[in-house]
């Protein structure tokens, strides 16, 4: 298991490196790079959450903005409406996201193939409209955070943003840690078995409905946590900001670029697309909004044509002829 050792090594080195970075003078404090790195960790986490159900389990969801949004509203509601702490709002939001995902996806899972993906599209629109007219959660105006004291208690920082960076890093460690665990345990094998052939998996004792629903709930719950972070970071939330197809597409595109159904894919995709997004926004803002999405789109089209397995596929292709290269005369 050589590749596993390499992957382990990279994982721990990365975490250690990212953790000491803020303590190096000029590392990230109040720099634009600090902001970009924070966003990379956030979007990588979000893409990884999506990857659980859509990459590993093969059920392509375009509805994850809903779960992301519910988590964002969870944190924001706690702070804005209840004068409480995001520490209570975030887990409640994540839990609600997980619970909501079950009745939503159960009927969708009965749909075959692309119809599942299409059904999830509609769900984003439904929730977007619902939150737009729902006064209790601020309607179309959304929720604006009051001025809060900086620090971990409020999970908010206005001057030194190192706290956000570390928060995003912990989120990243949590989501990726969960997927690492899954990957090497029964759940990971069952997810992929369902993706590769549901009837075959069932013939091997896999309760595929349960596997899909639990993967969806876990994926939605983690997406909710990411959303909570997003609300804290932006100090506000409104429906188009979180519950939009744009947002859903980002999670999808990041993962596809990095490598669908792979552990490192979401991070690699985010590491390429997010800096691109942030720097084009900063330096090409005069061209109007949406430039980042145009560039996203072009990169994805190029990837789909030249390297459908994403950056991970590229890396595997560079590795010495091993398991993926070997072919024993059968189909590809």
């Amino acid at each position: 298991m050589n590749t596993k050792k390499i992957s382990d090594g990279i994982w721990y080195l990365l975490l250690a490196g990212a953790l000491v970075l803020p303590f190096i003078p000029g590392g990230i404090e109040n720099t634009f790079h600090g902001h970009v790195l924070t966003m990379v960790f956030l979007y990588a986490s979000m893409a990884q959450a999506w990857n659980i159900i859509s990459g590993y389990c093969g059920q392509t969801s375009f509805g994850h903005a809903v779960f992301f949004g519910i988590g964002a509203y969870g944190a924001a509601m706690a702070v804005v409406q209840f004068n409480s702490l995001p520490w209570y709002g975030a887990p409640v939001g994540a839990l609600v996201a997980a619970l909501v995902s079950i009745p939503i996806s159960a009927p969708c899972f009965r749909l075959k193939g692309h119809y599942f993906a299409i059904a999830t599209f509609a769900i984003v629109e439904i929730f977007n409209r619902l939150f737009m007219i729902w006064d209790w959660v601020g309607g179309a105006i959304g929720l604006d955070y009051p001025i809060l004291e900086d620090g971990w208690r409020n999970f908010s920082w206005s001057s030194d943003k190192t706290g956000y960076y570390l928060g995003a890093l912990f989120l990243f460690a949590l989501v990726f840690g969960v997927v690492r665990w899954i990957d090497s345990h029964r759940m990971g094998y069952y997810l992929r078995a369902v993706r590769e052939g549901q009837e075959t998996a069932e013939s091997l004792g896999v309760n595929s409905s349960l596997v899909k629903l639990s993967a969806m709930a876990l994926s939605a719950g983690l997406a909710g946590l990411c959303g909570a972070f997003f609300a804290q970071y932006n100090y506000r939330v409104d429906p188009p900001m979180v519950m939009s197809l744009d947002m859903s597409m980002k999670f999808v595109l990041i993962t596809i670029l990095g490598g669908l159904g792979t552990f490192w894919g979401p991070l690699l995709g985010a590491a390429v697309l997010i800096p691109l997004q942030e720097y084009t926004r900063a330096y090409l803002a005069h061209l109007g909004s949406g430039v980042d999405l145009i560039i996203f789109g072009l990169i994805i089209i190029y990837t789909m044509i030249r390297q459908p397995t994403g950056i991970m596929g590229l890396i595997r292709g560079l590795a010495p002829r091993g398991r993926d290269a070997s072919n024993d005369g059968g189909d590809r």
């Binding site: 993706r195 069932e202 091997l204 070997s326 059968g330």
Partner: protein, 256 residues
């Protein structure tokens, strides 16, 4: 004691009756062969037993429990494993990973699952291909993978649907050895097989289907003498050769 009983099983697809009122038993610890011409309804019967199809009528019990309308994953967990005639590798997973999926049915512990998967992989002579992508295997290895994966679930009864079809003579002999080894480890076997040289010498009993109906159920020696079976399936010339083979107890497959 019968581990599996099939009673009055009927399965129709619209107007087509693929299984018509079929009844038979599979005794624990034996090898039962299910034979018959193409389209006789053998795979359909397997699919009914394994829970992939819902029978139109009839009753199937496994270890005295009714499994007729249970979902396939439940039946698998009770101890009934099956292979697919048209192989279904989990393509993007490696050979070892495919077998691990089966092994995880009995344990959630990764080390235990790995140990059991490796054992099944060795028994099926697949160790050499352990890290290969299953979709890229040759048909022979895909056939072996079907068996290895089913075996990894630790079944009490295994349903083998033409596990030797498409294999070379040597590979067929290895498959027969594997089946005998499974039997010696206490696994009951119900197998569909067209290669008579593979099934005649090892089957304790044969069940013959034709046009969706059971035409006979008996020991191989009697089945090959049966005029109806000869007419429906073997043909005169072939059957004479088989009778000779059964008498001499030889399993030479070269004249297949």
């Amino acid at each position: 004691m019968a581990i599996l009983t099939v009673r009055n099983l009927t399965k129709s697809f619209g107007a087509l009756v693929a299984n018509n009122d079929i009844s038979f038993d599979v005794e624990s610890g034996t090898i039962v062969g299910l034979i018959g011409p193409n389209g006789a309804g053998k795979t359909t019967l397997f699919n009914c037993v394994a829970g992939l199809y819902r029978p139109t009528s009839g009753r199937i019990t496994f270890e005295d429990r009714d499994i007729t309308n249970l979902p396939s994953w439940r039946i698998a967990r009770m101890g009934v494993a099956r292979t697919f005639q048209v192989v279904r590798p989990l393509k993007e997973m490696t050979v070892l990973e495919n077998i691990l999926v089966g092994a995880y049915m009995r344990t959630g512990n990764p080390a235990e699952a790995m140990a059991s998967a490796k054992r099944c992989m060795e028994m099926s002579s697949l160790s050499h291909y352990m890290d290969r992508r299953a979709g890229g295997l040759t048909i022979g290895n895909k056939k072996r993978l079907e068996v290895a994966r089913a075996l990894a679930t630790g079944p009490k009864l295994i349903l083998l649907d033409e596990a030797a079809a498409g294999l070379t003579t040597t590979e067929t002999r290895e498959m027969v050895e594997l089946i005998l080894r499974m039997k010696s480890e206490g696994v009951t076997i119900l197998m569909v097989e067209h290669i008579m040289e593979a099934i005649m010498p090892i089957a304790d009993k044969l069940v013959v289907l034709n046009g969706g109906e059971k035409i006979i159920e008996d020991v191989p020696g009697v089945v090959v003498e049966d005029p109806e079976v000869i007419r429906a399936y073997f043909g005169e010339k072939y059957s004479r050769r088989l009778r000779k083979g059964a008498k001499e107890g030889n399993d030479d497959g070269r004249d297949a």
